[in-house]
């Protein structure tokens, strides 16, 4: 196992405090970048590293940075997307809570690279206590001349502010986030123009996920090339995987990309296997939006090769037999979990969170929610199953932002791999109506 990047030093007591973090090599990358490198050199190191966006889309970060419109006379902005709200994902919260300076170090290096003098961290409203932690960390940085005017005696100025949302999943989409940051409803914008040209306040803006930015300090410090040697193929570096569901050890793990899924699920170092001696049934490997895979396809690809935790391996087989790494929200289902109920649950979520701007998503998510409710509650009809497939195919690709796709994929995938469960629900309404779901006694933490 390669050494950790983001969670290195996480075990050190009080690493949340500035002094402790600094003693363990913190902010050395800022010194290196500001004093010995030009902004373009920082961008080049990040390009060289092969780092890809950790928020879900996996777009190469260095490339994203290079799109920033340098000819414009407007100020540049860096916005950190800490609106983590994808069901199953809680890595950014863990990172910000335990090692907030890792993020701020990355933000300073990234802002320098982008020649931005203002950076915002957009934190979801539910993470109110994180706002306090981040503001404390930022305050310490101002006191130690790592933020503010003439950082570390150089001519570079940077202000970092924490901005708080108020409960809207859609604000995790980067243009919706920018709208929200401007004090508006979180309605995603039509692209192009992309934020790199017209972003916050119509100025060139880069929006990066928390985990993406947390990698930047290490890349600056140790070089992009060394980073690119970690991981596998085009999936370079490490990834925070937040594991939850019916496993022994739910939590956040930093893995080197390329770790076999089987090892991740069953090894004591990670999930520790399925709870209560049960069998693995299915996994949603990248947050609720990505297709669910049954046991046979999550452990091995359709070609019979071991499935790895990497962008490419999880996507192997397309949506027929693959999924996506997404945000790294790893949800594990055991043999007793009902896939229909779970799919209904996710559909309700997307129906609730649709911003209502595009008809296919606004209406489609509502219909999927209603039809799945009907099936789950023993009132389904056989043709409902194909109706769901039809609705999801009419949403996918027909909306301004990816929320429509995110709502459509889990439904289509659940029916693709677990059609028999949907049919069982339709054929046995009496059994379905009388099932008792969940028992707290069973799930108490030991």
């Amino acid at each position: 196992m390669e050494s950790k990047i983001i969670l290195e030093h996480i075990e050190i007591p009080n690493i949340r405090q500035f002094e402790v973090y600094r003693q363990h090599g913190g902010y050395q990358s800022v010194e290196k970048a500001l004093k010995t490198m030009t902004p373009d050199e920082v961008v080049n190191e990040v390009k060289l590293s092969g780092l890809r966006g950790r928020g879900g889309a996996g777009f190469p970060t260095g490339l994203k940075w290079s799109f920033i419109d340098k000819k414009s006379n407007k100020p540049h902005y860096l916005v950190c997307n800490a609106d983590e709200s994808e069901p199953g994902t809680f890595k950014d919260r863990y990172l910000m809570e335990h090692i907030p300076h890792r993020l701020i170090e990355g933000i300073i290096c990234a802002s320098y690279a982008l020649e931005a003098h203002t950076a915002y961290i957009y934190v979801r409203g539910e993470y109110k206590y994180i706002v306090g932690i981040l503001n404390e960390a930022i305050k310490a940085c101002y006191q130690h001349h790592l933020l503010g005017k003439n950082i570390l005696g150089t001519s570079y100025d940077l202000d970092v502010y924490v901005h708080c949302g108020a409960g809207a999943y859609i604000c995790g989409e980067e243009t919706a986030l920018l709208e929200s940051l401007e004090g508006k409803r979180g309605n995603p914008r039509l692209k192009p123009p992309f934020p790199a040209v017209k972003g916050l306040y119509e100025s060139p803006t880069v929006v990066n996920n928390v985990e993406t930015l947390a990698n930047i300090g290490w890349i600056v410090q140790h070089g992009g090339e060394r980073f690119s040697q970690i991981g596998i193929g085009k999936s370079t570096g490490t990834k925070l995987i937040s594991a939850c569901g019916h496993i022994h050890h739910p939590g956040v793990y930093e893995i080197e990309l390329g770790l076999p899924v089987e090892e991740f699920i069953y090894s004591e170092a990670y999930c520790g296997g399925i709870r209560d001696g049960k069998e693995l049934k299915a996994v949603v490997p990248g947050g609720s939006s990505v297709p669910i895979l049954p046991k046979s396809l999550i452990l091995k690809t359709a070609k019979g090769e071991p499935r790895l935790l990497s962008y490419e391996s999880l996507a192997d087989g397309g949506f027929e037999s693959g999924s996506m790494l997404g945000s790294g929200g790893f949800i594990v289902y055991d043999e007793d979990d009902c896939i229909v109920r779970n799919t209904y649950n996710f559909s309700r979520f997307y129906h609730h969170e649709s911003c209502g701007q595009c008809s296919p998503c606004r209406e489609g998510t509502g219909w999927m929610d209603s039809v799945l409710y009907r099936i789950e509650h023993g009132e389904g009809r056989m043709k409902d199953i194909d109706l769901l497939v039809s609705i999801s195919s009419h949403i996918e690709g027909n909306t301004i932002c990816p929320l429509g796709d995110a709502a459509a994929w889990p439904v289509a995938a659940a029916i693709r791999h677990f059609r028999d469960e949907f049919e069982f629900h339709v054929n046995h309404p009496d059994i379905v109506r009388n099932v008792k779901h969940g028992s707290l006694l069973k799930y108490q933490k030991v």
């Binding site: 708080c164 108020a166 409960g167 004090g183 979180g186 939850c244 969940g438 707290l440």
Partner: protein, 193 residues
């Protein structure tokens, strides 16, 4: 959901006087300084968070109009934001708003039971407030703590790994604490400025 009908009733101006204290206004000025002088609307969501906390736990037209005036924007710009985000409440709430996560991983691990148990314990249905005005119960979507499911949130503080005994303890403790003022350092205005 009867929200749609409620909003009509809500948009009645009562002309009750609304004003932040000078100390809160100072903090709001700090927050406003985070945004360019010509982009002060950016401070809207943080100010609404503070307003909701300071003015009794929910928003009404008088409060929203006051905030619009403060930021020199039109009232509709405030209404559309207040109705969009789920953390803004447009009807009166109990002192403690209990929000139980109902999404995927929490639901798998007993989130629905937490909700049913609270309904029984507090003698209210989801969406209602207890007669003594202490507790409101809400179903919410993913709170981002799936690894410690089931999870709930009370006035934006997290409560994780819930079970029935823990719920009993928490409710008892809140009942005891309900007379005490809220610690300053837990408020929006302190955390944001």
């Amino acid at each position: 959901m009867s929200d749609r009908h409620f909003y009509h009733k809500l948009y009645v101006k009562k002309n009750n006087p609304v004003a932040f204290t000078p100390e809160t206004l100072e903090r709001i000025d700090v927050i406003r300084s985070h945004y360019p002088a010509d982009q002060q609307k950016s401070a809207l969501i943080p100010i609404l968070q503070i307003a909701q906390e300071e003015f009794g736990g929910s928003l009404n037209v008088d409060i929203m109009d006051y905030v619009a005036n403060l930021l020199s924007i039109t009232p509709i710009e405030v209404y559309e934001v207040a109705t969009f985000y789920s953390q803004f409440y447009l009807e009166p709430q109990g002192k403690y708003v209990i929000e139980v996560c109902q999404t995927g991983p929490c639901a798998m691990c007993g989130g629905e039971d937490v909700m049913h148990y609270l309904e029984e314990k507090l003698h209210i249905k989801v969406g209602e407030t207890t007669d003594d005005g202490l507790f409101s119960l809400k179903a919410v979507e993913c709170l981002g703590a799936c690894g410690s499911a089931p999870v709930m949130q009370i006035n934006t503080e997290f409560y994780e790994y819930m079970n029935l005994e823990k719920i009993d303890e928490i409710i008892d403790q809140l009942r005891r604490e309900s007379e005490m003022p809220k610690p300053e350092n837990l408020t929006w205005k302190v955390r944001l400025s």
